[in-house]
């Protein structure tokens, strides 16, 4: 198809954010080599971090970063869904509630009182929740932040009407494909890789660190078996809980394991 006729029918892309750090949408701007080709294939209609220009919806593909933490967020995500043909959530906040979901395990009012001098100005929810708890989501892209190659593949897959080529298996598979020696078996380093969703390319183990679980739980995991292994290797209970209570603290398998090892 000639480029000119395709351009007239370019689908419209929107990028929205709720409670988040902006790191995931920055991953799109990080696609420096590919950005012009992306902009040629899809109209960047609403992306406040990239441009002041905003084209009204509806949008063909909407990327949403961030979690729902306020009554206003909960309202806004319904409006966003209403103007989006395909809605893809990107990053740990949008897919599991993010690090701010630590409030789910604490007394949110007490936290607010401890942090803000005038909490009465604040309207916040007791929990931080993923977008899929509020509206229908077409695809969830994991990561804290998302991997830019995977983000590109989601956009390309949308443009060509195929499934994203993104595996939901463990980080271990990425380590072994790369030839990275297992930090847990060879060095005794606690690593969340065996229960964590692939996507980062085994970044931390390749640099001799245990996996921090940025991509959340893999497709069918036994987090309890890993928690037990950490304990058996001498990791104190509280540290096991903290290992599971990070960027994807509220994802069900990690939340349960955090509870099991948490201090009373």
């Amino acid at each position: 198809m000639p480029a000119s006729s395709r351009r007239t029918r370019r689908p419209k892309l929107a990028v929205f954010k709720l409670a988040s750090c902006d790191g995931c949408q920055l991953s799109l701007l990080d696609c420096e080599d590919e950005l012009l080709a992306v902009a040629d294939a899809i109209e960047i209609a609403h992306f406040p971090e990239a441009s002041r220009r905003s084209v009204r919806g509806p949008y063909d593909l909407t990327l949403v970063e961030g979690s729902v933490t306020t009554p206003h967020d909960a309202e806004r995500i319904r409006e966003i869904r209403g103007v989006s043909r395909r809605l893809v959530t990107i990053g740990a906040c949008a897919t599991s509630g993010g690090i701010q979901a630590l409030r789910n395990f604490a007394d949110a009012d007490a936290l607010v009182a401890a942090v803000y001098p005038r909490p009465d100005f604040l309207r916040t929810l007791a929990t931080s929740t993923p977008i899929a708890d509020h509206v229908r989501v077409d695809y969830e892209l994991r990561g804290c932040p998302v991997d830019k190659r995977e983000l590109l593949d989601v956009i390309i897959a949308f443009l060509h009407d195929r499934r994203p080529a993104i595996a939901s298996s463990s980080v271990c598979i990425e380590c072994k494909r790369r030839g990275t020696v297992c930090v847990m078996v060879a060095h005794g380093t606690p690593c969340l890789g065996p229960v964590t969703h692939a996507g980062c390319g085994a970044l931390c183990p390749t640099y001799d660190r245990g996996c921090y679980g940025c991509f959340g739980p893999a497709d069918s995991v036994n987090a309890a078996a890993l928690g037990d292994a950490f304990r058996a290797a001498g990791t104190p209970s509280g540290e096991v809980a903290r290992a599971f209570r990070t960027f994807n603290a509220a994802a069900a398998p990690f939340a349960a394991e955090g509870d099991r090892h948490g201090e009373a």
Partner: protein, 387 residues
């Protein structure tokens, strides 16, 4: 043509270095064990200096530590996480690229040519047995794997008979070691200590003999030959693990509803490490990818595993949704149905799945458990994919 008793040769360390150089001069890319990331893995080899002199791997279930031996032995350890599988069946491979042309059709680019032939220096008997298993799977029928063949066909193999089994080794049970019987061009046995460092060399092929001719060497003495034999006999008596293989196929076929599966499922992470490190596991999956414009598409093949949900996903869901069902499938294929498919066991007794399991699940212990947990309950017919 292999006749170790009458025909054995001997090389010193410098001779082994020259052998590696001679293979390199003949166009082979020498690969062997190197120390990296606190372990011993397969990697490109420039010479003897790259080999793990004085290192060993202390192994047990879920644990592998690189430690000093206190001597200068080059092959004083068993196997690391890698196997030659990485070289012959690469973890990721682009199979082809397709380009859209102006007339609405497309043209296929051939895959990048395979790298030149590899020479394996110090392949263990269990690794050589695993190569034979993969040969049968990937080259043994009319549907051969061209990418595997391109890497495998010309490969030159220098075996290293084992003198130092690891804590999870059970090649004696698998009948694959500690000495290799076939599948190599040259085989070495390392003799070291008291100022001696000699490799007794067994010549198995004509091209092996030709390469050796290019390297200064001598005939092995009767004493050296006897001590080389003692090295592997000693190794055979120090296996870290044991697997009773009698009736194993029937045992596993009779265990479909065994309570042990749930018990394993409570411990198994479902992480797939066992299948990744297994030198015979051959499963891969392919993904079709496109560039942004859709003008170019390519197909990638990567190692995959029966432990993932994606791998058995068909319309309606995964065939084996529970971890217990996936472990059962893996061990049953490895030790039982492999016999029906390929007339041999899929397990070579290298112990990698035991060592590299982060939670120390031990295939030999699971077999003992399946044997000793009492008679399995009567088999019940179940519909569909219930697990």
């Amino acid at each position: 043509m292999s006749d170790p008793a009458g025909d054995a040769r001997a090389l010193d360390v410098d001779g082994l270095d020259r052998l590696i150089a001679a293979l390199s001069e003949r166009g082979f890319a020498p690969h062997g064990p190197i120390v990296r990331d606190g372990s011993i893995v397969w990697g490109p080899l420039r010479g003897v200096a790259d080999l793990p002199a004085g290192w060993t791997l202390e192994q047990d279930a879920g644990r592998c530590q690189l430690v000093r031996r206190g001597d200068g032995a080059l092959f004083g350890w068993a196997v690391g996480p890698d196997s030659p599988k990485r070289l012959f069946l690469p973890p990721s491979l682009q199979l082809f690229t397709a380009r859209r042309d102006d007339e609405g059709g497309f043209a296929l680019d051939p895959p990048a040519p395979a790298p030149g032939p590899i020479a394996l220096i110090g392949a263990r008997p269990c690794e050589i047995a695993a190569i034979a298993v993969q040969d049968r799977v990937l080259l043994g029928s009319e549907h051969t794997d061209a990418h595997y063949r391109a890497r495998r066909d010309e490969a030159f193999i220098v075996a290293a008979h084992c003198g130092e089994p690891g804590g999870t080794c059970f090649c004696v049970s698998a009948d694959t070691g500690p000495s290799a019987r076939s599948g190599f061009d040259l085989a070495l046995t390392e003799l070291h200590g008291d100022g001696e460092h000699t490799f007794v060399i067994e010549v198995a092929t004509e091209r092996g003999a030709a390469v050796l001719e290019a390297v200064p060497h001598r005939a092995a003495t009767g004493d050296e030959i006897a001590r080389a034999a003692a090295v592997v006999t000693g190794a055979a008596s120090r296996m870290g693990r044991e697997l009773e293989t009698d009736g194993l196929r029937e045992l596993l076929y009779g265990c479909r509803e065994h309570p042990r599966w749930d018990e394993i499922a409570a411990r198994c992470l479902g992480c797939a490490n066992c299948t990744m490190v297994c030198p015979t596991c051959f499963c891969t999956s392919v993904s079709d990818l496109t560039d942004i414009t859709g003008a170019t598409a390519w197909r990638e093949r990567s190692w995959d595993s029966c432990f993932t949900m994606d791998f058995s996903y068909i319309h309606g869901g995964s065939v084996r949704p529970s971890v217990g069902a996936r472990y059962r499938h893996w061990i049953t294929h490895k030790l039982a149905s492999w016999h029906d498919q390929f007339d041999e066991s899929g397990c070579v007794g290298c112990g990698r799945c035991i060592t590299w399991c982060p939670v120390a699940i031990d295939i030999t212990a699971e077999v003992v458990g399946l044997r000793s947990d009492g008679s399995p309950p009567p088999r019940t017919r179940t519909a569909g994919f219930r697990v």
